[in-house]
Amino acid sequence: MNTSFLLFALLNPLFALLAAPLYMSLIRKVKAYAQGRKGPRLFQVYYDLKKLMKKEAVYSPTSSWVMRFTPYLNLSTLLVCSLFVPLVFVPEPAGGLGNIIVFLYLLALERFFTALGGLDAGSAFGGMGSSRSMSLAAVIEPTMVISFAALAFVLKSLNLHQMFALTAGKILPISPTLVLVSISLFIILIVETGRLPVDNPATHLELTMINEAMILEQAGKNLALLELAHALKQFLLMGILINTILPVGLSTEIDAGKIAVSAFLFLLKAGLLAIIIGLFESAFAKMRLFRLPAFYVMAFFFSATTILIEVFA
């Protein structure tokens, strides 16, 4: 461990934790504008989280330790994940942190426990949500692995820190293939955060919900932690996409001024991406559940052809 990394370990998760909920709000706001509404305030998600934190958690009588444990596990898993994605500056590599395979497994761990938590309360909705989430995960995970493999192949490293040290500060992506990888990453971002056309985050209609169904039985403090974890996951995936396609301004040195500029630029770029996501969501209708595998396979086909062409041509 060096000082550069210690500083990173302090700054990066803190930055992610503080900024992540803002983009949940921003996307909602953009969607509201697209529908001709005014929408909630920009800091509404923070107020909601604060309110939920004060409330007591209520548990179903059939639930076990899994339901109590899941919110803490999810948030801590994603905090560890936030050590993998450089947002404010790229530190010198330390230990195994930044390894892309560990990152994917951490995300899988979070998904697994969310699904278990959904089953644990014993309600029909939770079980349905978990079942849907797991069967769809079986199709989207290969896509995710392939896209990250393509990223690793193009940037010649398995370590996210090393990859982004290579792209940091460039105005344009360093290889045209990265544009293609970014499209795959965008689809993954949409799917992983349960957004339209895959899942509708704004609904509690039993026929359509996937992600919301799994956390339906959670209440109070636990719900706040799960919501925060969800926001964090979205923010980190946005971070990977931004660092791949538009790495301009990302600092590689420890310098207060440069880090501040880097963080500020990141907030701007993430704001732009959030607006794009909001508009994307407004432009699509929810897909029927049984049509989703076809959509995922298209994404898989896309990333598979990308990696084929990158490797062979």
Binding site: T177, L180, A294, F302, T305, L308, F312, A313
Partner: protein
């Protein structure tokens, strides 16, 4: 002068989009979306041809780009969209043998298959990697078009599958063999004839001669009147 390496990078990206458009033709259910995918695919081919002209400087490639643009991006899609309006079929949701998801998985297999077989054939030839991969994409496009022809039920979608196969041949020709220009022109004329024949088949495949005459009269395909 633009850097050839940069142009090659752009061509690589276009390759991916050509394959994606072929994937969409295989899996989309909406007829007008399939037609749009075909139009985009042809446009991408014209763009590839134009970029190759920028790299090589052969005027034949420029002519080819123009021909593709005129016939396959404007004329043929216009004809087919007219047919689609007339026959009043919006979607092709029936598949034989293969569902679209399976077809897409199979297509990945086909791409790998064409790669491995072509790499054996071209082993001794002095072909640059990009040109070799263009041939691979061309061959896989042809095979994917064939997949469309046999997994789709409607005549009009089968015709689009055939057209996409022809795009594959054009791609193969662009990168490997260099077909004489006159043959390209003949192929385009063939395609237009094909589309006209499809018009006839698409509205009358299921009827007897008498019914067929009645149908053509009612739909006013040749006179261009409105369907009532």
């Amino acid at each position: 002068m633009i850097d050839p390496l940069f142009l090659e990078g752009i061509i690589k990206i276009l390759f991916v989009f050509v394959l994606i458009s072929a994937g969409l033709i295989i899996s989309t259910r909406n007829l007008s979306s399939i037609l749009t995918s075909y139009t985009i695919q042809s446009f991408l081919l014209a763009a590839v041809s134009f970029l190759l002209y920028l790299i090589d400087g052969k005027s034949q490639l420029l002519l080819l780009a123009g021909l593709t643009l005129g016939s396959k991006v404007i004329l043929i899609p216009y004809f087919i969209s007219r047919i689609e309006e007339k026959i009043r079929i919006g979607r092709d949701i029936h598949f034989t043998y293969l569902e679209p998801t399976t077809s897409l998985m199979l297509s990945i297999g086909l791409i790998i298959l064409s790669y491995s077989s072509l790499s054996k054939i071209f082993e001794g030839l002095p072909l640059s990697k990009l040109f070799f991969f263009g041939a691979v994409i061309g061959l896989s496009l042809t095979l994917m078009g064939m997949l469309v022809v046999f997994s789709r039920k409607r005549v009009i979608t089968k015709a689009l599958g055939y057209l996409s196969m022809e795009n594959g041949v054009l791609m193969f020709g662009l990168f490997v063999t260099e077909l004489p220009f006159i043959i390209e022109v003949l192929i385009v004329i063939d395609l237009i004839i094909l589309v006209i024949l499809t018009t006839i088949l698409a509205v009358g495949m299921d009827s007897s001669i008498e019914e067929y005459r009645e149908k053509v009269r009612k739909l006013q395909i040749w006179t261009g009147g409105e369907f009532r």
